[in-house]
Amino acid sequence: MEVSWLHLLPLLPLLGAVTCGLVGKWLPKGWLYAVALLAVLLSFMVGLRAFFGLDETTQLFHQTAFHWFSAGSLRVDMGFTFDRLSGALTLVVTGVGFLIHVYSVGYIDEDPAYWRYFAYLNLFIAAMLTLILGDNLVAMFVGWEGVGLCSYLLIGFWFTDEQKAYAGRKAFVVNRIGDAGFLIGIFILFTQIGSVAFSQINATVVPLSVASLATLCLFIGATGKSAQIPLYIWLPDAMAGPTPVSALIHAATMVTAGVYMVARLSPLYVMAPGILAVVASVGALTALVSALIATSQNDIKKVLAYSTVSQLGYMFIGVGVGAFFAGTQHLITHAFFKACLFLCAGAVMHGLHGEQDMVRMGGLRKYMPSTRTTFLIATVAITGILPFSGFFSKDEILAQALHTKAFSFLTLTPRGNVHLTWLGPLIYLIGSFSAFLTSFYMWRCYFLTFSGEYRGPEDVHPHESPAVMTVPLWILSGLAVIGLVLALPPSWVHGSFLERWSWEHFTEGVFARPRGGAPEEFSALPGFAIALLVGWAGWACSYALFFKRGLAGDALLSEKLRGVRVALANKLYVDEFYGRAVVRPLWALAHGAWRVIDATIIDGLFVNGIPALVAWVGAMARRFQNGDVQRYAAVTALGVAALLYVFLVRGG
């Protein structure tokens, strides 16, 4: 249905951003907070109104806001589509975004640049909504770059700290590599399909080669934005930004953009089963590697960052095995509990005057009861222990991976049939082991932070955060609990009032089915049993080591697995490897190019060379002006004689 008010969704936060950015410095603090919060809240209201307007007859709202540009046969409109997928994500972005705005009021209040912070935050919401609602790839790319910009600005929010500014640059540059792939994907789709609109792309059947190449390029973009191997390295460093930003941008919303993009283009992706296999494998590998690294980090935010990378890996497993609903469902539940975890970490840091090292925490349950309880709820949710949301959404992904038929595609390759039937179960195994690790490192994080005795310095007195920060925590942890409604298996809720809230049921018809067909009916219970076992095993290991022994457990683990622990604590030396293999050669190339092209040719030949030539000619010419009238006369006479010779003798 065509409507005329969808543009309000991104426009309201954009207006808020403009107001905060331009005049925020001179507004009274309360007014500024009111503007920033209201902009997001109103956007949320519009989203709610639209969301409840969707029903059987109205599958989506669409608006073409304006014609943006045309070039040849390319026509790009700024259009918005609000369907069940983008609508739900809009609510997540504005809803969680609003809670984080509220929390930020308490968190950033004492920073002199609070107005800049809220301008960026509002701008981020606007860009993210453009990304989600955009009805074509170019509009999505605008949002894609917009959120990247806000991410950069907010990571480097305290830009006077060299290291934080560097982290922002790193995020920007790494994302740029992915964005190049994204752009090439758009170009391929435009040349092959002749349109950049999702409706057109998703309705066109393209050859396998085109689909594979385009989806692969787009997926490279997704690995950048959603922090997957090989481009995940920026996300842990992105923790240099303020913690609410980590919660909003680098956990709940922006980093899931890649998953959303794959889900949005599901009809295209199912045409390229080989790339689906790549997506799922990359997701599984990322989930495993980052979960391993997370077990050995001591910085509470780094643990959560690697945990985010790992959970994003799960989402890519979900979309990669053709279960797009499972991937996006985990996206939503993850947004709730991971935002909650990050905000709790922020509250802990707030109460400990910026302390991030878990070695100097411990025993905080006495000082921060609200933070502790909400962190506990979110931890239960993420570790996949009954009955909270993470359990169902994660297990859905793993079950779909085990039973997937997405890789059993027929007659698509010249050399006959390809059956990658072993890949699904392999991914299931990797995913389950990662789930064990997830449980292990999250409980480690919980035990080291909240259990035992306080290990920090004497002069730091831990205290609970103000209500403006704890209330969002409670709401988010509540969402992390009731998020399970989304993820309940449809067979359980069949016929009851919960059925229409089941994500799988809710998004029926939004996503394409994989070529090999949907998995056959399977019973969810064995998978649940294994998942429970895995989750509790992780808890048990963690409990034995860290609850019983505290830090000594960590030391014990390091003693038993010395080499592995050191390698993991150093993030498997991936940064160093990239530094040697990519950054240094590029640096050398850039240095060489600077020396040759810039310093020698441009500066030497053009910038300095031309003035030097003019100066030389001037120096030569100035010898003629010596004030001797007779020499002037002689030169004039010679010149006249030469002219006469030329015109009279030779010309005549």
Partner: protein, 113 residues
């Protein structure tokens, strides 16, 4: 036609050219300002000779300007101007001589600033 027996403009023109060249050489090469002024007179008179030659042997026989008087008129103008120029030139030389105690043009090089 034999060059030396033709009563045409060539003889006068060649003579004028020689005189002009002598004058120009004097202007460029001599160091004494008085001699330089005199050399200028020589060049002017070479020009006068050319005027008169073309007046006597006009290139265009029936010129609307009249047959030969325009050349003579130009010569009178040149003589008048040359007299004025010589007066001014000598006055300048005199003035310079009073400050520099010299009429050597090599020393007059303040024109370059």
């Amino acid at each position: 036609m034999d060059f030396f027996h033709a009563h045409q403009a060539q003889h006068y023109l060649v003579l004028a050219a020689l005189l002009f060249a002598l004058g120009a050489a004097g202007v460029v090469l001599r160091r004494n300002a008085i001699i330089v002024l005199m050399s200028i007179e020589l060049m002017l008179n070479a020009v006068n000779l050319t005027f008169l030659a073309f007046s006597r042997f006009p290139l265009v026989p029936n010129s609307p300007m009249g047959t030969f008087l325009s050349g003579h008129a130009a010569v009178f103008f040149v003589i008048a101007t040359a007299a004025a120029e010589a007066a001014v030139g000598l006055a300048i030389v005199l003035a310079v001589f009073r400050t520099r105690i010299s009429v050597n043009v090599d020393e007059f090089d303040t024109l370059k600033l």
